[in-house]
Symmetry: C3
Subunit: 333 residues, 3 copies
């Protein structure tokens, strides 16, 4: 990981503490995360209108720069930008100049020179977006749409919004994160968000082979047994199992994993009766979760998707405002 | 085929008989088809303006969901949606979540949760769009852009608009459909439309191997000889020959097919002198049709393309209105 | 080459001498090129605004038709069109109807029938856009985004804008074009533009194997030695080296080429102290140019990119105006 604890705050925020890039939740305080959730809440209403548009990014150019393909995440960012009235450019990096031997840095300088206002970036390398944000021209906002195993902060924030909508608060909540924590940038961001927002207890439930070594240092309790870990929790967050992991020695088999860590109706009964069940999607039914649970009354999986657009609209509009404010301040000094 | 005669009407129409999905022409009456043609006619004028926009779908999100790729059809739907002022999301399903093992049903639920208002869907499986329309949230419209061998209703309606523009009426018209009827969803929809709109006689002209078994039950006369079939017709609709069929035993060779069923200037002379010639495109010149005919004075092939945008604008705006009306009615009850 | 000296003027201009297509710089006079530069200059300001939009092409449909893929050029045209408020359709021709055996001509007729107003076309065949412009319906503008080895006129004009911004004039300027002139449509268009705009001296610097036979007839001085060629020049334009050329016998090796023709800090010293360094991108660092030069104070490479959007906006809006004016004039006669 190339990002230190201290650095991100500086680079993500204006001198007044406004968001200007959105790279990681590290270094962002509870008031700012709450502001993101409140702003997103106001955009939920926009999505329910017949005219789903607000003019906050009108005439702005947003470039979706996906070095790892992801139709789902890219689509939600594209829709979020369009509902903010931005012009959107989708760049498939496999077919672009980088394949002609151009460096990442040159590609970005070029896109910047096209007067782009915001880059939404997914990259397989941890810290790539941080590197880019450090180099980018003032006025241009960088949004992290997932970097390596490091962070996926918009996913974590849409999860927080979903929890807040259903539970009304974070204080006193017991939250279990179940599955492949080791390879999950989502889990890292969730743990950070839950700690910052004041959840009472964060549990990670996984076989030892799928847990990072220092996981307790992140502020979690570790459980190797699903039933024990679920006892009395308010929120269950299932992680996606990367099927590629099966090939290594980390996991016995899908069937074996499901038997031990898959969320069935029977296992769900160990949690509080009003516990909510979350999953970032796409779901592997019968591997991480039983269909009866995914489609059941405690599942809030589709709310997460709806909240994804609203949270991305919030983060994009806040970062753009921060850039504008900083530029205006810079112009005065 | 999973769609019965009776079912489609119910699912496609509101209680008042307004269009709310557009899946098939089965079950739609002459007044509704005429309304589609009249609405499309009004959009022809929009396409001729320098500002080719109407605000009917402003702020709406239209998702083009093509499980079979088709640049041509997808482009006309994309342009139609943009001219209605909608935001458009094009999804290439090969690279999307389904390749990560997600079910069609989960993919759709997710897209729906993104507050999409309309899905334009092409799928290789007959009835897929019907299945989706039955499952989708109220308020979301489904438009069929071609399903398996079943239906391609917007193509049939743009053909009807083209016929009406040139002939002024359907009553008394003799229409010949020539070529691979067996594999053609277009032909199925055309036969249905022509019957509903009151054409006098519908002929299908093809070798026996390229005709469905029950084709006469659809309300057609069968001809195995092109010259005989063309005698005194007002409209000739050539079908596209799928070259893949050649490999099976269904057809002797392109050359042989052209000799027997290709539309040459000489054969065209058997039809009425003012007969019009249609083709859904893309044309295989010298396989289905001689260039002198495709480019000749009786060809209305490019009118069909222009009408394609107008008909798609009509169907999309009508279905959205129907969804809005139903939602409003539901809200009152 | 299918385009003669005389023909392009006729086809590109209205009777009043307004631009209506933009295919080549051949036949365009100094006043028109200056008008393009002045118009582009006014759009530079639009790119610097927070709302980067002007309504000049509102409701117009612009189709990007790339028969050769180029993310960079296509993106700048897409952004230019969107900032002019047009609706944009990107067509990947590899996956489109042409792969089903449709001819180029039929593909275009179809797109035209969709009421498109402008085609931005890149094609590997020299003269393809000229052929299309000759065949297209009146009212539809054709913009050349690069054809074979023939021309890339928007690239040349953005280079001219960059030179004018930094040097204030063309009179008295000595300009060196360095590298693979033989395969470069960019160089051909640059030489034409520099001659028309009144540059004092145009030098081409390359090994004999990378120079066209008739290059002096275009109005250039030839140098085989970089140091000699750079002496006292005001502007240095580096060309992109096509790595594919290495495989033929035209070039010894990248290393050898760089040694002789690569622009290093040391070699740059032969030019005037205030000489500017240009490159169309993407850059091969260490092949055509040393990083210290590409990133150095004399480099204006990123200005070129910014100017690329402005020049494309200028050409697109001028050609559309010309088409409208011609149509209006035609309607009166």
């Amino acid at each position: 990981m190339t990002v230190t604890e201290a650095a991100p705050r500086q680079i993500q925020l204006t001198e007044d503490g406004q968001l200007k890039h959105f790279l990681t939740l590290d270094g962002l305080g509870q008031p700012l995360l709450t502001e993101i959730l409140d702003t997103a809440e106001s955009f939920i209403e926009v999505g329910a209108r017949s005219i789903k548009k607000v003019p906050l990014l009108r005439g702005r150019t947003v470039v979706n720069l996906f070095f790892e393909s992801s139709t789902r995440t890219r689509s939600t960012f594209e829709l979020a930008a369009k509902r903010l009235s931005a012009d959107v450019l989708n760049l498939d990096i496999n077919t672009s100049a980088t394949s002609k031997g151009e460096s990442l840095s040159d590609t970005l300088l070029n896109l910047e020179a096209m007067a782009s206002d915001m880059f939404v970036i997914r990259h397989s390398q941890s810290g790539a977006q941080h590197f880019i944000a450090a180099a980018v021209t003032p006025g241009v906002a960088i949004i992290n749409a997932g970097d390596g195993r490091h962070a996926h902060p918009t996913q974590a924030m849409l999860d927080m919004l979903t929890i807040r909508q259903h539970k009304g608060r974070f204080e006193g909540l017991r939250v279990a994160i179940v599955g492949d924590v080791l390879h999950s940038r989502v889990a890292r961001s969730q743990i950070r968000a839950l700690n910052t927002l004041g959840a009472e207890e964060i549990r990670v439930i996984a076989p030892a082979t799928l847990l990072p070594k220092d996981v307790e240092a992140l502020g979690c309790k570790v459980f190797y047994n699903l039933q024990q870990g679920l006892r009395d929790v308010d929120v269950i967050i299932m992680l996606r199992l990367q099927r590629e992991r099966m090939e290594g020695a980390l996991l016995p088999s899908e069937k074996e994993f499901y038997k031990l860590y898959g969320l069935s109706v029977e296992k769900l009964a160990y949690a509080k009766p009003d516990a909510i069940v979350m999953h970032p999607g796409p779901i592997n039914r019968g591997v991480e979760i039983e269909s009866a649970v995914a489609d059941g009354p405690q599942s809030v999986i589709l709310n997460q998707v709806t909240n994804g657009i609203a949270v991305r609209m919030a983060v994009m509009s806040m970062a753009m405002s921060g850039q504008v404010a900083e530029r205006a301040a810079g112009g005065q000094s």
